[in-house]
């Protein structure tokens, strides 16, 4: 990149350089060019990341957005069919069931693990000796491959030999033992239990980190004023974790909207489509039924849902920039 080329591309062929020199901002034009080159330094640092990020993350999303407006099947040429795939979305029972289950997942994962994680963190902060091991126990599932987690629960739920039904049999309730993942009534709750199990560790770890930032003096002062333990939790701990609440709820929403591996490896959306979520349903349509156009529309709906959380969250995170 020659020093004399940069400003040519950026603006007006050296006019600004001369003007700036005239105004006495730079002693000579060469200084000006060096100054312009300096302006490019940040982009030099950013270039590798931006190129890869745009090529392999942003561009494919536009590809999917394009396919969502077509009848593409994976073969031949895609034909533009406007918003048909989107109108089909809201008339398709299986898709609406996937939509509903996605909402159920999101609401469950934002509430249950978050509350349990908060309770655990609050319990652990005061108990020095327990803190490390208990934290390890509850965080361990989060570092396992999700497929591994799925297989663990599949074995527990196994209708013939799994522990749950063996246990029910042992206490004389064998007649009640259901096919946990194979029947419409129990499959979704069974999945949710596994999902909660994996998800507790994350909010717990974050809340523990957040609790360390609350000054102990606040608690001391309140105790002197005769506040109860409940008062301390309600008026100091909870408000003190405000930022953590935002971070955790946003990240839990983002990840539960995207839930895929656990469901794919446990029920693959079945029985019927009882446990389908938008991720698995998009996958089934795009890669299973060769309905790339329709699958892409499902994907775009999912993306819009995820972005409606991510955009405000990212703007909030970068508010001090």
């Amino acid at each position: 990149m020659g020093a004399d080329k940069a400003p040519l591309k950026l603006n007006d062929g050296g006019e600004q350089a001369k003007a700036a020199t005239r105004r006495g901002l730079f002693h000579e034009e060469g200084r000006y060019y060096r100054w312009v080159l300096g302006k490019l330094v940040p982009y030099g640092f950013l270039a590798p990341a931006l190129v890869i990020y745009i090529a392999f993350l942003i561009v494919p999303f536009f590809g999917t957005a394009f396919y969502s407006l077509t009848d593409y099947t994976g073969l031949g040429t895609p034909h533009f069919i406007g918003m048909s795939n989107y109108s089909a979305f809201f008339g398709d029972g299986a898709t609406l069931s996937a939509f509903r289950n996605t909402i159920i997942w999101t609401v469950t994962m934002v509430t249950v693990p978050t509350v349990l994680g908060l309770l655990l963190a609050n319990f652990l902060r005061g108990s020095g000796r327990w803190q490390g091991p208990v934290q390890a126990v509850f965080y361990l599932p989060a570092v396992l491959p999700m497929v591994g987690v799925a297989l663990v629960w599949n074995w527990l739920y196994n209708p013939q030999f799994g522990f749950l039904n063996a246990f029910l049999g042992a206490i004389g309730l064998g007649s009640l033992a259901p096919d946990w993942l194979g029947s419409t009534n129990t499959a979704e709750p069974a999945l949710l239990v596994a999902g909660i199990w994996v998800s507790i560790g994350f909010p717990m770890v974050l809340y523990l980190a957040g609790l360390q930032t609350i000054s102990p003096e606040l608690y001391e002062a309140a105790r002197v004023d005769g506040a109860s333990r409940w008062d301390l939790f309600w008026h100091i701990t909870l408000p003190g974790l405000r930022e953590m609440h935002i971070v955790i709820i946003a990240l839990e929403m983002i990840s539960s909207l995207q839930v895929f591996a656990l469901i794919y490896a446990m029920t693959d959306g079945g029985p019927g489509n009882a446990t389908q979520v938008l991720g698995t349903w998009m996958y089934a349509n795009t890669f299973g039924f060769n309905k790339v156009g329709y699958g892409s529309a499902i994907g775009i709906v999912l993306t819009v849902m995820a972005m409606s959380v991510t955009v405000p969250y990212v703007l909030w995170m970068t508010r001090h920039e």
């Binding site: 940040p42 990020y53 208990v134 491959p145 074995w155 522990f163 063996a166 974050l206 591996a261």
Partner: protein
């Protein structure tokens, strides 16, 4: 309290406090045990001969404990190939991804230019893009690049989807480098690259280590992209291998369980060894954003 005279009730109160502590400890142990129960059952299954599981049931007290299931599973399940592939992609992806993101994070933390916030926002939006939605066009793109038939088809998307979190963590780390130090480097005439490499990088090494561990975990565990992008079984990574085991050992529960144990073992070990780094990485990544 301390001004009160010792009353006969004091020892009693002490006893109550002791009892409370023991009860509390017992509850903690029981809750932890129940939480670990699904994993313990798998371990117990892996350590018993298949016949015992089928005849006596998993809820029975085990009669024989054995390690015999493991070698068979390792060979029948072709686990060494999955391990090798996962290790290969991890060893390339993690350093490369962190290098790229560490470069990108520096100007976001310490340089002034007009597009700073828009670029940071753009990079962070990737935190929320559902991976699976991008995969069809991504597959076409990667095939056109001629990567379709190898393990390395995973490398570009793994790096791309790792950038948002890595940049977030590294920007937080760079932001904690004092501005005066960087200014002093500039006064001494060092280039920005030199300031990045010689002044900042040594100071953010702890963050790099935390990030490397987090990144290793998520690369090792990645499933969706591998499921869709990898064409040949010989290129499959460990999560796919685990899924294959489920199909392969449909009715041999002991072998399946030993496969699950072998599949999750590396992460369990890494977790036990590097828990502090991991937890610190998660916390800083989320908080310092």
């Amino acid at each position: 309290m301390s001004e009160m005279p010792r009353t006969p009730a004091a020892p009693a109160r002490k006893a109550i406090r002791m009892t409370m502590r023991i009860v509390r400890g017992a509850i903690v142990i029981v809750v932890c045990f129940l939480f670990m129960f699904p994993l313990l059952i798998v371990l117990l299954t892996a350590l018993q001969p298949e016949g015992d599981i089928l005849n006596r049931g998993i809820a029975a007290v085990p009669e024989h404990l054995t390690l015999d299931n493991f070698p068979g599973t390792w060979n029948d399940g072709a686990l060494s190939s999955y391990y090798r592939n996962s290790m290969l992609i991890l060893c390339v992806k993690v350093p490369l991804g962190i290098l790229i993101s560490t470069l990108a994070a520096y100007p976001i933390a310490h340089l002034r230019y007009r597009l700073r916030r828009p670029i940071f926002v753009l990079l962070l939006l990737g935190l929320g893009f559902p991976v699976i939605v991008a995969l069809y066009p991504l597959l076409q793109l990667l095939r056109q690049m001629g990567l379709g038939g190898s393990l390395w088809v995973l490398l570009p998307p793994y790096i791309a989807f790792g950038i948002p979190f890595e940049v977030l963590v590294m920007r937080g780390a760079f932001a904690s480098v004092p501005y005066e130090m960087i200014e002093a480097g500039r006064v001494d005439g060092a280039s920005e690259f030199r300031i990045w490499a010689r002044l900042c990088l040594p100071l953010v090494l702890p963050a790099v280590a935390s990030l490397a561990i987090l990144d290793a975990v998520s690369t090792w565990n990645e499933f969706v992209m591998a499921l869709i992008l990898i064409a040949n079984q010989s290129d499959q990574t460990l999560p796919l291998g685990l899924l294959n085991l489920q199909g392969q050992f449909t009715s041999n529960y002991s072998e399946l369980a030993s496969g699950i144990i072998l599949g999750i073992l590396p992460m369990v070990v890494l977790f036990l060894v590097a828990r502090r780094w991991l937890v610190r990485g998660i916390a800083t990544g989320a908080v310092k954003g």
